[in-house]
């Protein structure tokens, strides 16, 4: 009898405790117990003999009972990627975080996550948690091939594959799966990967025009004039090849480039060279002609191409003194 009584008491205490725990804190998934409410004692019904004619009551709009937020029932070690599997806007009842966002008057706390438009407006990355990414990577691993040997570093594969091709794919849920943007092909490569002589480089840069970026040294061709990607890719490669080979062709009219057409001062084709030669070969016989030293030529070119400054003019002076053999 006594043992029965104590058992009853214990079970009643446990059930009240469990209910309290259930409402206040979340447990690990294996600890969660199914709490079965015990049957209440049946109430003694009252027999009412007098039927009271009830007034026709006004119909009240019945609100559906709001379910408690799902977060209350979430285990702390649940699989989050199952809860939030893809990109979607914020939902307060699904995110077990005490987030607050938004503007209030000074001193007050920011609005909570419930019915908070500020949180819904901003994009979130709740579907891209590190475990989710890891999980997805694991899933697609079986489609991957091993990385080729000998291309371990970026420098190595840049050297082997100097040409970079960029295209875009588009995913649609439409009757057509075509997207006109998908035909665009962009190829880039470093100009230093091509081999030129001085004339060819100059001509090539003129041919490609603004497709070459002087700051990064990158050459970019974007083709979109053909209907398919394959055609555009072929066309881009054709452009590159044609420009490269055309730049090595010297047309007959290129010889008529005058001094005014030069984009840079060149010592070789200017009066400076003739003067320097005349001074160096003053009274010299025809055989023992001396050409001006390269240091002098460089200093003149630097003075004119870079513009005058104290450094350039000092260098020029030094070279002239050397050229004219004036003892300092």
């Amino acid at each position: 009898m006594a043992t029965n009584l104590t058992r009853l008491l214990e079970s009643s205490i446990r059930s009240t405790n469990a209910a309290a725990v259930q409402s206040s804190m979340r447990l690990f998934s294996n600890q969660q117990q199914q709490h079965q409410p015990e049957d209440d004692d049946e109430e003694f019904r009252v027999l009412n003999l007098r039927t009271i004619r009830q007034q026709a009551r006004r119909r009240e709009f019945k609100k559906e009972a709001v379910q408690p937020p799902r977060t209350k029932r979430m285990a702390v070690d649940q699989d989050w990627s199952a809860v939030w599997s893809g990109p979607r806007s914020f939902h307060p009842a699904s995110v077990p975080l005490p987030l607050r966002q938004g503007y209030t008057e000074r001193g007050a706390a920011a609005p909570s996550k419930y019915a908070n438009a500020e949180l819904m407006k901003i994009p979130n990355f709740l579907h891209l948690t590190p475990p989710a990414i890891r999980q997805q990577c694991e899933a697609i691993k079986k489609f991957c091939t091993p990385w080729p040997k000998g291309l371990e570093t970026e420098a190595k594969w840049k050297r082997t594959f100097p040409l970079e091709v960029v295209t875009s794919d588009y995913c649609h849920s439409l009757p057509t799966i075509r997207n006109p943007e998908a035909r665009r092909v962009k190829i880039t490569l470093k100009l230093s990967d091509l081999q030129f002589d001085a004339h060819a480089k100059d001509k090539f840069l003129r041919l490609v025009g603004e497709r070459f970026d002087r700051e990064t040294g990158l050459l970019t061709f974007v083709t979109d004039r053909c209907p398919t990607r394959k055609q555009n890719y072929d066309y881009a490669l054709y452009l590159l090849t044609a420009c490269y080979h055309e730049s090595f062709v010297t047309e007959p009219w290129e010889a008529s480039k005058s001094e005014a057409d030069m984009e840079q001062y060149l010592f070789e084709r200017n009066q400076a060279k003739r003067s320097a030669e005349a001074i160096l070969n003053w009274n010299a016989s025809r055989e023992e002609k001396v050409s001006p030293p390269s240091g002098y030529a460089e200093s003149v070119e630097q003075l004119i191409n870079e513009g005058e400054n104290e450094y350039n003019i000092a260098k020029y002076k030094e070279e002239v003194l050397k050229l004219l053999k004036i003892a300092i």
């Binding site: 320097a276 005349a278 005058e308 400054n309 002239v320 050229l323 053999k325 004036i326 300092i328």
Partner: protein
Amino acid sequence: MKMFRKQFVHLSRVSTHLQRNAIAPCIASPAAEMSTNVAPAAADTSSAATNEFRTGVTNPGEHSELHVAKFYTIPVEEKKQIFSGGGLPKQYEQQIKTFTEACLMVRSPALELLQYIKNADLTNPAVRYVLYGDNGVGKTLTMAHVLHYGALNEFLLVHVPWAPNWMKRPKEAANSASQEGFIDLPFDAAAWLVHFKTQNAKLLGKLQLKTSKEYVWSKRESTPAGAPLMELVEHGIARIKYASETTAALLAELKQLASARQCKIMVAIDGFNAFFHPITRIFSDNKQRVTPERITLTQPFLDITNYDWTNGVCVLSVDKIAMTEGYMASYMPRYLLGKDGFEHLDPFVPVHVGNYTDKEFLSYINYYLDRHWISRAQPGFEEQLKFMSNMNPYTLMQLVRGL
């Protein structure tokens, strides 16, 4: 000592000059004339050598690093010979008059130039030195120092005190008779011939230079081959109409003579970049501004600054003020000379003239104090002057000038 005797020969003329300045006691000894004790203010200074900012060495050829930032006096006779036709800035000329002595500070650009000139091999083509620097740093005075050296060392001086004068304010412009479409500047050419004559009369008399060919000026006038060069100069001065042609002939003759080792020539042209300015202020017959190359004087002076002759040295200066509005952005030689001017002079030796160093600045202040030009100065006034003038020579002179 030879120079000293030369001084003594001219003592009589100098003494009259000094008496005019009421400083008769100083001529008692000839040494006083050599030193700087000319002004009454300097009467208490015992001798030039004792002053730390003066030097008694009046021959620029003997100046060295020891004399940097020290003042030397150009003897009156020599000053009259070299600079009477110009060559010193006007305000410096006034200061010389006030201080009754022609003092020049020995500065490093001039020393550097003198060093080059002394070491240069004159059998090589003429070397062109180009002085450049900001406004008022002393390019003209550096050139004056070098000119003094040239005059003392038997260089024939071909000196243009300020070339832009010809392009900016000529006395008269006439159409050239000999060259179609060219402009003569007869008065300016004659004035230059006079300047050439005063500078070189003594040396020309000594060297006995002769013309190489006959110059026919008109039906009746001609200069025969083998005539003394002085005759050519005199002709240009007497017959102003032919002054420009005479100048051209004279410069061509000088170039030939120098190349034939009969004389050595120092060409000094201040404001040389004026020859390459795009435009002048001279109007042609059809009321259009002419370019400098249409002036008959330009070509001879460009020829003599070319490298195709020997036994010569060219000291040229490029100046912002020689240009006009819109061409004065920088004082660098390539900018001021332009493309043509640079190609004409290249390869030249650029010599930068800068502001005073601390030592030079203090030396100048001491000089002003010595001349009693600065008096009743508060302590620390040097710092103020240094700050206000930024150690620029011209600005300093303007700051301490009389009202």
